[in-house]
Symmetry: C2
Subunit: 356 residues, 2 copies
């Protein structure tokens, strides 16, 4: 199985890089947007719809699935691919970010994190070893090292602690990880301190991971800062390894990060906004409830080839939202994913065109 | 267009009748279950999914669509078929039942009903003429006379009033209705008084409608009473006209009504129960949240060919419900519709087999 994984850069230039990520569950053309299937489901959508929208890789969450239904339940059912009936590529986040953002009463020590489940308040503990074993049970193709994530703003002392713990924990994840059907990625921390980002990247690169994520961004800082620190961090990473910017999903931010040499992105925004009635269109974002849509026969985005735009008018979608019908959020989520996948595919085409 | 509509009984016997309802939007094999698309959507489902589940005809609601988005909006967008992107057959209920069940402060006089919108409290008025014109604007294939529906229990005086008003209003709907691309059905009232049901049926049959509905049942009485009065009412109707029992959708109740010679049924139950986690299975009904499903790899119904059962385990569906994911309700609604359509198709096959 070892040779089933590879990452190859096909072309690179000022607009970014185009690559091929090969896994046992298929090849991902990068740059690629990964929709978020936190609880083993991209909200409201089926695997067939994801595929039709152009998705080849998605992100599930080890913390959430550990809390419910339990990693051993998913394992007993054949692993995450079979559980959620998704034949494509899956990446699981380790849970570091979710504990950081969701769990009350967390208690961090050098060995790991003790926290209360956000579902039932049960006292739980994650260590690098446990987080790795959970991800092995879940069975995603790509898994993430257990990291210590910081908020915005973060002082230097807290950022130093994040880097130190993240490095120490990454080494333990590397040591623990034994599955040949998965590959492990390290996560660079360091908040908005460039020297700490340098230190974090150097320490992780020395461990030779399959790929590297840029963590600790998209946590509240300005988009310009996200872009700046993502580009800076990407420049520290080996050119032959895949790079993943966590938590970024707006077209403009993706374009900036692609230009900086990032390959993978994930974000809840396109589906969350879709459920709440905001559609991605060429002009930016459109509120589907707007009164001018009342008798507008046109699709959300003229020229869009998604199922929603091929079948339904703005007027109908507006009606569904006003009537409180969940089909509305489903249809606009689908459009947004299709739109974003097309957007990223065009970035890729441009890179291939300009550098071949 | 006149010849585009017909109803032909192919076979009839003790198990009921099998027929073909022909309309400009396709042929419906009867008996047929009609899912409810109150607000121009069968909750959570797309037209493609309805078709794949075996649906050929659905029921939308004139009252709801009159209140929101407005019949003139739907008309300007090309009518209900185009608005909701459903190429199959549509029947609209006139709104009599909804005013009866939803609207506060209704005031009934001989001419019509004044009531407050359940959406925004606006004072509205429906008469037989207005209800017919709304349904013409919506553009369904089959439309219903504006009737006066009763609750359970209903005294004789109220039931007599319902029959008198329903007959008088049916005559005015008949007079008003001018569209050749639609057919109008009368609705028999009379609560649980057989002589009043006889009178109502005789008065409506004398007006020669395209078909007849059995109204005023499924309003709270016992299932055995529903079956008894549905059968009694069906026996009063001309054998060459289509018969529609309003508000019935449980397999057992449908089987009883089919045996009594009813052709069409509608009910929110399969989709409402689907959203709430109850699945139709051969053993009856199953609670998808049950703990025994925790690691059950089997589909909801072994041997079922629906999309849900072909792709997802009981364990996954249970997980989605416990996680509050709306995909759960979508998938179980789909299964329930498929299940019910298959159930009715088997009743039809049996009738054809036994009477040819």
């Amino acid at each position: 199985m070892s040779q089933a994984f590879s990452f190859e850069v096909e072309a690179a230039g000022p607009a970014g890089r185009a690559g091929l990520l090969t896994t046992p569950h298929g090849v991902v053309k990068t740059p690629a947007f990964m929709p978020v299937a936190t609880q083993a489901v991209v909200k409201l959508l089926t695997p067939e719809e994801l595929k039709a929208a152009g998705t080849s890789i998605l992100v599930a969450n080890a913390y959430h699935l550990y809390v419910r239904p339990g990693a051993e339940v998913v394992a007993a059912l054949g692993g995450l691919h079979q559980f959620m009936s998704w034949p494509g590529v899956i990446l699981t986040d380790s849970g570091g970010f979710q504990i950081h953002s969701l769990a009350p009463l967390r208690d961090v020590d050098d060995d790991g994190v003790t926290f209360r489940s956000h579902v039932d308040g049960q006292l739980l503990r994650l260590t690098p070893e446990v987080a790795t074993r959970i991800q092995e049970q879940l069975g995603a193709d790509l898994i993430m090292a257990f990291d210590y994530c910081t908020s915005y703003p973060t002082g230097r002392k807290e950022a130093e602690k994040a880097v130190s713990l993240t490095t120490a924990w990454a080494a333990r994840c590397r040591e623990t990880h034994g599955s040949s059907s998965q590959r492990l990625l390290g996560i660079v921390q360091g908040a908005l301190f460039k020297d700490l980002r340098e230190r974090s990247a150097a320490e992780l690169v020395a461990m030779d991971f399959f790929g590297y994520a840029v963590g600790g961004l998209s946590v509240g800082e300005e988009p310009a800062q996200t872009a700046e620190y993502a580009a800076f961090t990407a420049s520290l990473l080996p050119p032959n390894k895949i790079r993943y910017l966590m938590g970024v999903g707006r077209p403009k931010d993706i374009a900036a990060a692609v230009a900086a040499g990032v390959d993978l992105f994930d974000c809840v925004v396109p589906t969350r906004e879709g459920r709440h009635g905001t559609a991605l269109v060429d002009e930016g974002r459109a509120n589907v409830r707007q009164s001018s849509y009342r008798d507008d026969k046109r699709p959300l985005d003229e020229g869009c080839g998604c199922y929603t735009c091929r079948h339904f008018s703005r007027a109908y979608l507006r009606h569904l939202f006003l009537a409180g019908e969940h089909l509305a959020g489903r249809l606009v989520s689908l459009h947004n994913l299709y739109y974003l996948n097309q957007f990223v595919a065009r970035l890729r085409d441009k890179i291939l065109r300009e550098n071949n």
